[in-house]
């Protein structure tokens, strides 16, 4: 999904995650958003915001034990990162760890708000490959906000653009 800045991409994701009051109807399979408690909905439909937040001092505090042990090497971290202090992480590193933090919850749907915004070109492509592999293997439905047409072409099955108050389909995907 793409759109000019300020067009409401993030707000749409927040509404799907049920963080923003809205009048729409959202469902995951047969389960409507309002049919289950909000925190259960959000642990199945997990959103990764553009700037991830870290509230404990140590990186490891944000991950359950299995997620700490299973940290994929494709993300470019050694296992010691779990002992690091959060202030040591660069914004790109936070971004990658936030994706793993979300995936470790084993969600059924992911809402990604510009997940590669803080990465250089090489890391972006490496991250895309890893992320697409995880998404396909786990069969997760993904709503991915991006602005780079090349990236949209590489990752999207369908491409929608926000136009005013409507979403219109663009043939940029494959």
């Amino acid at each position: 999904m793409s759109g000019p800045s300020g067009s409401g991409k993030s707000r749409l994701l927040r509404a799907v995650a049920d963080l923003e009051p809205h009048d729409g109807r959202v469902s995951l399979g047969d389960t409507g958003q309002l049919d289950i408690p909000a925190h259960q909905w959000r642990s199945r439909v997990v959103m990764v915001p553009a700037d991830s937040q870290w509230w404990f001092d140590d990186v490891g505090g944000h991950f359950p034990d299995e997620a700490k042990a299973g940290l994929p090497s494709a993300l470019g971290f050694t296992p010691e990162v779990m002992g690091w202090s959060v202030s040591r992480l660069s914004s790109g590193e936070r971004q990658r760890l936030a994706l793993w933090r979300a995936l470790a919850l084993e969600p059924e749907a992911l809402l990604l708000d510009e997940p590669t915004a803080n990465l250089d070109n090489d890391s972006t492509e490496a991250l895309e490959i890893w992320l697409l592999d995880e998404i396909r293997r786990r069969q997760i439905a993904v709503l991915w906000v991006a602005h780079d047409p090349a990236q949209i072409h590489r990752v999207a099955d369908a491409h929608y653009r926000i136009h005013g108050t409507t979403l219109e389909r663009v043939d940029g995907g494959h």
């Binding site: 049920d18 963080l19 925190h39 259960q40 642990s43 997990v46 937040q53 509230w55």
Partner: protein, 265 residues
């Protein structure tokens, strides 16, 4: 032992000292002269009036007059709690939550202390009930307003963290956990500090007053211990209720963070 009554003209001597301070402040351009004089005047008028009220109240000892005074004290304390919060809940929520928490905690603890611990006849005897309730409300008010102020301010500053925690499937209570703990701590800190310093660094005002009025220090000390313990209990439960109700009101039924419910006056 008879208490030495103070003649009004002797209080005038103390007032002259305040005037001297105000004059010095004016000459030195400290910019506090005006507020100093107004505050001193308010103290004299307010205390003189409450003296008259208490004289009348002690003479009648009717339950409904005591209840009325207690209600007025509670409402004024509730207003003060609202005024002391930098960001507060919209509408009547700020007042209701603060006043409700103070009512439940200070009235319950005061009634318990009166009926069970001290046991005057009748239990609401104004000589005991009004001073005790006043001390309870004054301290609970400080605790509740500090706790609510901290809660609202932290939620406002840390909204991104709270929302990110919600995005990861945490309940609103889990996402607020650290902030609630901080808010509770700032509400309780003054009473804990007061208990720790009592008798060594500071001689508490109530005990000092009782000794001046001729009570044996051993009795005054027992009353002071009672008062400090119940003040801490009242402040603690009051802050706990205020933080828990306030924290709940910051989220809606879908556990969304609703900062639009906070206003900055």
């Amino acid at each position: 032992m008879e208490v030495i009554d103070l003649a009004w003209w002797k209080l005038g001597l103390a007032a002259l000292l305040v005037l001297a301070l105000a004059g010095t402040g004016y000459l030195a351009r400290l910019g506090i002269t005006r507020s100093l004089l107004i505050a001193a005047l308010r103290t004299i008028i307010q205390l003189a009036l409450i003296g008259l009220v208490l004289e009348a109240l002690f003479a009648s000892s009717e339950f409904y007059w005591i209840a009325l005074l207690a209600l007025i004290m509670l409402l004024v304390a509730g207003r003060e709690v609202v005024a002391r919060q930098g960001r507060r809940l919209r509408g009547w929520w700020a007042f209701s939550i603060g006043t409700g928490a103070m009512f439940v905690s200070s009235f319950a603890v005061t009634v318990l202390a009166l009926a069970v611990v001290i046991g005057p006849e009748p239990w609401y005897a104004p000589q005991y009930a009004i001073p005790l309730l006043g001390m309870m409300l004054g301290n609970t008010m400080t605790g509740v307003s500090l706790a609510l102020d901290r809660l609202n301010e932290s939620v406002w500053r840390q909204r991104a963290v709270i929302e990110n925690r919600l995005m990861l499937g945490q309940t609103s209570q889990q996402a607020l956990e650290d902030i609630r703990r901080d808010a509770m701590r700032s509400g309780m800190m003054p009473s804990i500090n007061a208990m720790a310093a009592a008798g060594i660094v500071s001689l508490p005002g109530m005990m000092t007053g009782q000794i001046l009025a001729g009570s044996p220090p051993a009795v005054a000390v027992k009353y002071q211990i009672l008062v400090m313990l119940i003040i801490t209990v009242g402040t603690g439960f009051g802050s706990l209720m205020a933080v828990s109700w306030g924290g709940r009101r910051l989220f809606d039924e879908r556990e969304r963070l609703r900062l639009d419910r906070l206003v900055k006056p």
